[in-house]
């Protein structure tokens, strides 16, 4: 059975991972290669690296950075930011990217989607769409101009599929960095409008956000950024709790959290002192492959 994917997004600005809040404020998190190595070890299903400066500044993708992070990345890696030409896509796949994410290019020159797909296959192209609520209507947001544009959202998504995108990544700008949970209503309105997989991002607060999403929608994949940086055990805890609820989650690690306590926000609490005192530590030799 195909599993639901839990994807970690690394938002990159000036070569470092940042926390993004509402596409406006940015706080530094750390080095991309360290983040990738840890996420990989924790059993994340996929990693997306998005450089939010490249397109705005007219820069090429940072191939050296991708080469560096992909050395420790044995899960699929999608890369976005600054992609303009077929040669950019080729250079990225040769630097360790498995898929490319394009956003702005999709409304400027949708033919590029077709051109990339003819060479690299539809499965290699993720079309990313930023969505924003305006007067309670959902609109497409152009982050380079910092305003919404007047396309019909459903027509736009259908067009992306028509031009040859293999997946669509929906970013909910209003929820970015605000921990409000996923926008279930809008997701349900959009999911079945296209026949390619959709990834949603924006709003993940805790494991319940993911449970909610997968129980109430038929979405294939969920991505989060800040949540994975700032919550203890976020990847392993989320996947472990999710897999107790749903059969469609891949778990590869041996972590179990049945005896852990959590606070009201579902963050893991320290064990009681007397429990810690009586704990026995067993050395487990790492499995050598």
């Amino acid at each position: 059975m195909l599993k639901k994917r839990i994807i970690a997004t690394l938002v990159i600005k000036n070569g470092i991972v940042v926390q993004s809040i509402g596409f406006k404020k940015y706080l530094p998190v750390g080095k991309p290669d360290i983040a990738v190595e840890f996420l990989n070890d924790w059993g994340i299903d996929e990693i997306a690296i998005i450089d939010i400066d490249a397109t705005k500044k007219g820069l090429k993708p940072d191939y050296k950075l991708i080469e560096k992070v992909s050395k420790k990345c044995f899960v699929p890696l999608s890369v976005g930011g600054g992609i303009q030409t077929l040669d950019d896509v080729r250079a990225l796949t040769q630097s360790g990217a498995d898929k490319v994410i394009i956003n702005n290019l999709c409304f400027k020159s949708p033919d590029k989607i077709t051109e990339f797909a003819l060479a690299f296959g539809n499965q290699c192209i993720i079309a990313s769409v930023d969505l924003k609520r305006e007067q309670n209507e959902i609109k497409i947001f152009d982050y380079t101009l910092n305003k919404t544009i007047d396309y019909n959202v459903i027509d736009y998504l259908k067009n992306l599929e028509h031009y040859g995108a293999g997946e669509i990544l929906l970013n909910f700008v209003d929820r970015d960095g605000l921990y409000k949970g996923f926008d279930i209503d809008v997701i349900n309105q959009l999911t079945n409008q296209v026949s390619i997989p959709i990834i949603v991002q924006g709003g993940a607060k805790n494991v319940n956000s993911f449970i909610d999403l997968f129980e109430k929608t038929s979405i294939e994949a969920a991505a989060a950024a800040n949540f994975f940086h700032f919550s203890e055990h976020s990847v392993t805890f989320t996947k472990s709790i999710l897999s107790n609820k749903l059969s469609s989650i891949r778990t590869e690690t041996n972590f179990g959290y049945s005896d852990f306590k959590t606070d009201s926000n579902l963050r893991i609490l320290k064990k009681d002192d007397d429990v810690l005192e009586k704990m026995l530590y067993v050395k487990i030799e790492p499995e050598i492959i």
Partner: protein, 211 residues
């Protein structure tokens, strides 16, 4: 472990050669990315990676004369080869991706578009558990239930005797790996399938000399 094994990734300007080489290097082997005939001739194992569309892939292979060079090494000299994703699909007789195209024809079969049943979304992308249907050098280091990362819109339709593993996608079975003698193919990406993928490479590379 034989670290001296000479592994060559065939470079036809369309694969994720770097990712495949990273995974194999991580296991301590020497690996070379090349399309030079001399390097391919000296290889103990050849890997044909792939992230790409079939037409572009076969065009690149043929324009570099790799179909002839590899054909001699694989079919006449019985050198082991592992095709990954579109690299596996190239082994078939034909593919219908963007028009009908002739493949290498080393394993009887045709690459056809996945027709989704129910509401399944295509491409088939993500982690799926495979069912090993035949003993294979690929799976020597793996138990039964393993997840691998898939990302494809077309699949390898072939006779049961060539299939060594399948996975369920909605209500249909997708060929996950194929084998005919020294010719191996996996539809999924072992280089992107975490520990299961690394174990597959280890098992394959350790046992491949015994073929």
């Amino acid at each position: 472990m034989n670290r001296k094994l000479n592994i060559v990734i065939a470079d036809y300007n369309l694969g994720n050669t770097y990712s495949v080489s990273n995974a194999i290097k991580h296991l301590g082997y020497n690996v070379r990315i090349s399309l030079e005939e001399s390097n391919l001739k000296n290889a103990d194992v050849i890997i044909l990676p792939g992230v790409g569309a079939f037409e572009e892939a076969i065009k690149n292979i043929k324009s570099r004369n790799l179909d002839k060079i590899l054909g001699e090494l694989v079919l006449v000299k019985s050198k082991p080869i592992l095709g990954i994703c579109v690299g596996m699909q190239l082994l078939a007789n034909s593919s219908e991706e963007n028009g009908l195209h002739e493949g290498l024809g080393w394993i009887e079969g045709h690459v056809k578009q996945i027709i989704p049943l129910n509401n399944d979304k295509v491409p088939h992308v993500g982690w799926n558990n495979i069912k090993i249907t035949k003993e294979s050098k690929l799976y020597t280091n793996l138990g039964q239930d393993n997840h691998f990362y898939f990302d494809h819109k077309y699949h390898f339709v072939t006779e049961e005797k060539f299939i060594s593993a399948q996975c369920e996608f909605g209500n249909q079975l997708i060929t996950s790996s194929v084998q005919y003698r020294n010719i191996f193919g996996v539809q999924f990406h072992p280089e992107k399938s975490q520990r299961a993928g690394l174990k597959l490479f280890r098992g394959f590379l350790e046992n491949v000399e015994l073929i």
